[in-house]
C-alpha cells in the first residue's frame, strides 16, 4: 500500500458525487442567492428552506466524518514511530473508532431527516488537510481547525434540533460533540508535546491552522452574528484547549473570510 494517498484516490461507491469546495464558494448563483432578502442566515426553523439547509449540512457532516475517519487512519499508516510516536498512533486509532461511529450516526440521522447518501455533493477539504507531510500539521489542520469547526457546526445543529423540536437531532449532535471536544483536545495536547523543543515547527503548524481556519470560515459560513449560519461555540472550544485569544482570532478570521467571500462572489458575478 502506498504512503500518502492523494484526495483524488479516496475510494467511494457509486452514490457519491465529488465537487471542489472553491467551486461551491465561487458558484455564480451564490450572488443571486445573497441578493434575496430572506432574513438572517442563522439556521432557524422559521427561515425559508431551513429543513433543506439542515439536510444539506447533515450530508456535509456525513462526508466530513468519512474523511475524518480516513485521515486519522492514514496518519497511523503514513508515518513511522520516529515521526508519529506510538501513543499518538493509539490516539489516532481511537479517533478512527469514534469517527466510524460518527459516520454511522450521520447515516441514521440523515435518514431520519429525510435525506439519502449522495443527495448532495462531497468536497474533500477535510481529507486534504489530512495530507500534510508533517503529522503536527495534520493535527493542527484537522484536529484543531476542522474538528474545531465541527464543534461549531454540531453545536449549531444541536441548538437547531432543540428550537425546531427534533429530539433525535439534538441527542445525536450532543453525543458527537462530546467526541469532537476530545479530538480537538487531542490535537492541542499533541501540538504541545511534539513541538515543545521546536518553536519553528510550532509556528509552521499554527500558520497552517490559521490558513485552514480562514478557508473554512467559508465566506461567512461561521461567525458570531445572525448573518452566520454556523456559530462559534466559545465554551466548548475552551474545553477543547483553545485559549480566549485563539478563539478571538478565529472570530476575526471568520469576519475577514466573510468579507472576502462576498467580494469573490461579486467579482464572479460581474465576470
Amino acid at each position: 500500500m502506498r504512503k500518502q494517498l492523494p484526495p483524488e484516490m479516496l475510494a467511494r461507491d457509486s452514490r457519491f458525487v465529488r465537487t471542489s469546495i472553491m467551486d461551491q464558494i465561487l458558484d455564480p448563483r451564490n450572488r443571486k442567492i445573497s441578493e434575496r432578502t430572506i432574513g438572517p442566515a442563522k439556521l432557524a426553523p422559521g427561515r425559508p428552506a431551513s429543513a433543506d439547509r439542515a439536510r444539506n449540512l447533515m450530508h456535509g457532516i456525513f462526508t466530513g466524518e468519512i474523511q475524518a475517519l480516513e485521515g486519522a487512519g492514514r496518519t497511523m499508516f503514513d508515518f513511522d514511530e520516529t515521526e508519529a510516536p506510538f501513543a499518538l498512533k493509539l490516539d489516532m486509532a481511537r479517533q478512527c473508532w469514534d469517527e466510524a461511529r460518527h459516520v454511522e450516526i450521520s447515516i441514521k440521522l440523515g435518514e431520519w431527516m429525510g435525506t439519502e447518501i449522495g443527495e448532495f455533493t462531497e468536497a474533500t477539504f477535510l481529507y486534504e488537510a489530512a495530507c500534510a507531510p508533517d503529522p503536527v500539521l495534520r493535527l493542527c489542520g484537522v484536529n484543531r481547525a476542522l474538528e474545531g469547526l465541527a464543534i461549531d457546526v454540531f453545536n449549531t445543529m444541536k441548538e437547531f434540533g432543540d428550537v425546531s423540536g427534533d429530539p433525535v437531532l439534538e441527542f445525536c449532535e450532543d453525543w458527537m460533540l462530546a467526541d469532537e471536544v476530545t479530538h480537538v483536545k487531542m490535537g492541542s495536547d499533541w501540538l504541545r508535546r511534539l513541538t515543545a523543543d521546536d518553536p519553528e515547527r510550532l509556528e509552521r503548524a499554527l500558520d497552517f491552522q490559521r490558513t485552514v481556519d480562514k478557508l473554512f470560515s467559508l465566506g461567512g459560513f461561521r461567525g458570531e452574528t445572525d448573518e452566520n449560519p454556523v456559530h462559534l461555540a466559545r465554551k466548548l472550544r475552551e474545553m477543547a484547549g483553545f485559549s480566549t485569544t485563539e478563539i478571538d482570532e478565529i472570530a476575526e478570521l471568520s469576519e475577514l473570510a466573510r468579507a472576502e467571500g462576498k467580494a469573490a462572489v461579486e467579482a464572479a458575478g460581474s465576470a
Partner: protein, 218 residues
Amino acid sequence: MSDPFKPRPAFAPWDRRELPGLFDVEESARRVGAYKWIEMRLFEALGGWIATVPELDVKMILGRHCYHHAWHAELFDKRLPELREMNTDRLCAPANDAMEAFVEALHEPDAPELTIEKLVGVFRVLMPRKIAAYTFHLNGTSRVTDAPTQRSLEFILQDEWNDWREGEMLLQSLIDTPEELERAIRRQHELEALVVRAGGITGPGTIGTTTEVEGAGV
C-alpha cells in the same frame, strides 16, 4: 457460626492453577514483544486501508477494528516492562525475516478493487494465526506467575473472536462469483505459504511445535 481462625487450604478445591508454566520470564517477554509488533502492523494497515475501500460498511468496520488492535498493542506494551523489558521497542520486533516478509505482503493491496484481498489477509490468514498463538500462550503459561498476561490475552481473544467472525461474514457477503472465490483462495494460499515459512507469529514453536522451519531466517 464457623470459626474464622480455623486453617483453610490456601487454594480452593476448584482452583486448578499450576506451577510452573511453559515459559520463563524471558520467553514470555519475547512472545509479548512479537504480539505487540504484529498488532501494530495490523492496526496501521487497517487504518491505511480505510481510505482505499469503496464499500461503506467495510470502511466503518475497519475503523472500529483498527482501534481494537491498537488497544491490544497498548496492553502488550504495558506488559513488557513488567517482564523486565524496560526498552519496549527492543522486543517489539518480527519473529524472523519470513514474518516480516509476510507482513509486507499483507500490506501490499492498495487499489479500491482489492477489498477481498485486503480482508482475506486479515481475517482468513492473520487473525486465525493470532488466535492460535494467543490461545497457546493462555493455555501454556503459568496461571499463577503470568496472570497479568493471561488476563490481557483473555480480553484480547474476546475481541479477536468477535472481529474475526465479523470479518469472515463481510468476506462471505463480498464473495459472489467463481472469480471472486478464486481470488480469495489464491490470496489465502499466497499468504499462508509465507506464514507457514515464518512458523507462526512468534516463529517456529508458536503453538508448541518445535520443528525448525527451513528458510525462516531465524
